[in-house]
Symmetry: C2
């Protein structure tokens, strides 16, 4: 009944964090694991290949106050998040050894997934498997649902994307161009700005850190105003955007990464623009759009094959580097989607 025993490296969440998370808030430990699921169990044993670093994970590191859409991490327990893995053993009829899957897994070399129904079998392998943590995974569906379903874009409209070179932003800009929109993005370095223009086809881009006055910067790129704002950062940026929205503008509120590590959040003062300009602000999260995934996947894989959709990843080359990769998100150190390579298939 017993299988091979192996050492399993794991990333443990030490304790709740306030302010910016540090590498020391996570621990690398090792324990033994048997490469079989227990007899009679319907679990799946995964060999993790890629792990995803995503901004929403910051919320899970805070001491919970009230309910959230996501459970907090448990101090002393493993970090969890989206990843790509290969089934090593399965007690579940839907999965068998050798299957490639993506979904929520543990930050470790091997994970026992007790409720594998949430895992999605990978259908197309003519693209990098890491894409299922990004363009073909949660961030991809986020960009697709947020832009197409929340923003109701029309050809010729003006679109502004913040954190535009990130896992979601780079896709929103490309979707907007495919729709025939004018699209401008902001990011936090010249390298990212260059990427937006040269790689993702943004009509223009700017480095928000070099702007004294965000309102003036937006007026420069949008002299006639913004129809659609894809909101990834919040705070002062949102305040400046509100002054530049057009009548009947739409804001898809996907994230507010500038605020996640602040004890006292920035105040947004220009909300009366929402009334005057009849703006719609709609918050959304990707889990509400799982039903759209199959349709999104077919569209995205086609675009990728045709070269109409490209994707840039920032790959940390080992599990030990995962804590550093995760915290790098909050200073914008990553260029493109932050992924951790745990093992090659």
């Amino acid at each position: 009944m017993s299988g091979e025993k192996l050492s399993n490296k794991r990333i443990i969440f030490k304790d709740y964090v306030s302010g910016y998370p540090r590498e020391e808030d996570m621990l690398v430990v090792s324990s033994d694991i048997e490469l079989k699921v227990p007899a009679g169990s319907s679990a799946v044993l995964l060999k993790n290949l890629y792990l995803s670093c995503d901004p929403y994970m910051r919320g899970k590191m805070s001491k919970p106050v009230g309910k959230s859409y996501t459970e907090p991490f448990t101090p002393g327990s493993i970090i969890t998040g989206y990843g790509v893995g290969k089934v090593v053993d399965s007690g579940h009829p839907n999965f068998q050894a050798g299957d490639l899957v993506w979904g929520v897994t543990g930050w470790e070399e091997y994970s026992v997934i007790q409720a594998p129904e949430s895992l999605i079998k990978i259908k197309y392998t003519d693209v990098p498997l890491s894409y299922y943590t990004g363009i073909l995974g949660m961030p991809g569906l986020t960009a697709y649902a947020g832009f197409h379903e929340i923003c109701s874009p029309k050809k010729g409209e003006t679109v502004y994307v913040s954190a535009a070179s990130g896992a979601v932003g780079q896709l929103v800009g490309q979707f907007a161009k495919l729709m025939g929109c004018y699209v401008v993005g902001s990011a936090g370095s010249q390298e990212k700005v260059d990427l937006l223009k040269s790689k993702f086809g943004y009509d223009n881009a700017f480095n928000y850190k070099e702007e004294q006055d965000l309102n003036a910067a937006l007026k420069r790129y949008f002299p006639d105003g913004i129809d659609i704002y894809f909101e990834n950062v919040g705070g002062a940026m949102l305040d400046a955007v509100l002054l530049n929205m057009r009548v009947y503008g739409r804001i898809a509120a996907c994230g507010m990464i500038s605020q996640y590590n602040l004890a006292e959040k920035e105040g947004v003062r220009n909300l009366f623009s929402v009334v005057v300009k009849r703006i719609r602000i709609q918050g959304f999260i990707e889990p509400d759009y799982k039903h759209s995934y199959p349709q999104f996947l077919e569209l995205a894989i086609q675009y990728i094959r045709e070269g109409k959709l490209v994707y840039v990843e920032d790959v940390a080359e080992s599990l030990e580097k995962a804590p550093s990769a995760l915290i790098g998100l909050f200073s914008g150190r990553n260029v493109g989607k932050q992924v951790v390579l745990v093992a090659r298939e």
Copy 2:
């Protein structure tokens, strides 16, 4: 060709205002008027009966910065706003002497309306004519469109209304009760709180000025959270509401009266709730819903006749009192819809 000449008392807007407007920002003057429209003109001459004091008028008193949905008042010219009048003379084929109308008119005894197409002929006169400045006028349509079209209410949902005894708020609460919702309102005096409960059928009500902690107050009245917030005040109240919204909550942003007279607006810090709880905030203004007026009117007049919809007005008894009545809105001095009686029919 010339008609009777009469003295015409008028309220003049002196100059742009910053901070709270004062009576001294308006002047009562008198000039002569001929009670006929010029030959060949398509204007209408109105005898003004009731004038409406509405919060949006504060925006027209500020020095314009950028475009707004409403033109500013012109220093040295007359104040304009919604009112009810009787046609004295008409050069327009759609109107004739004796017609009762409502729409935008001047703050004066007699007004020449150069583009009378915007006036609406009053269909039902078995209710007080002043109702066409309120329950059957702009505030009525605002409440109806804002609640039914923006909020998509469902039976059993929880509804919170700020400035709940005002021209719009008293109606939103009654519409919510007619829909089978649980509804709580806030206002700024015990008298208004009593009115909400005894007259308008609110399930509960509180005086926001007596609450140290608006978040705690809302938790008391909405232990399971708020599905729909009808936003009339903005600022700190909106911030507290965001903490108490339920998942998929809707906020109809109708006005933000607490902010209109502040040079530095209050900052709203809890907007990340919009993402987490997938909240929709939709700004709107009544002119976008003029097409719904006929349908609204039929519904409202029926409800009024059946006693299902009631309305409370605060009537200033002469044109000279109009400036004081208008500025009273911003300290909440009015109890119910603020109207100015200029002349009885």
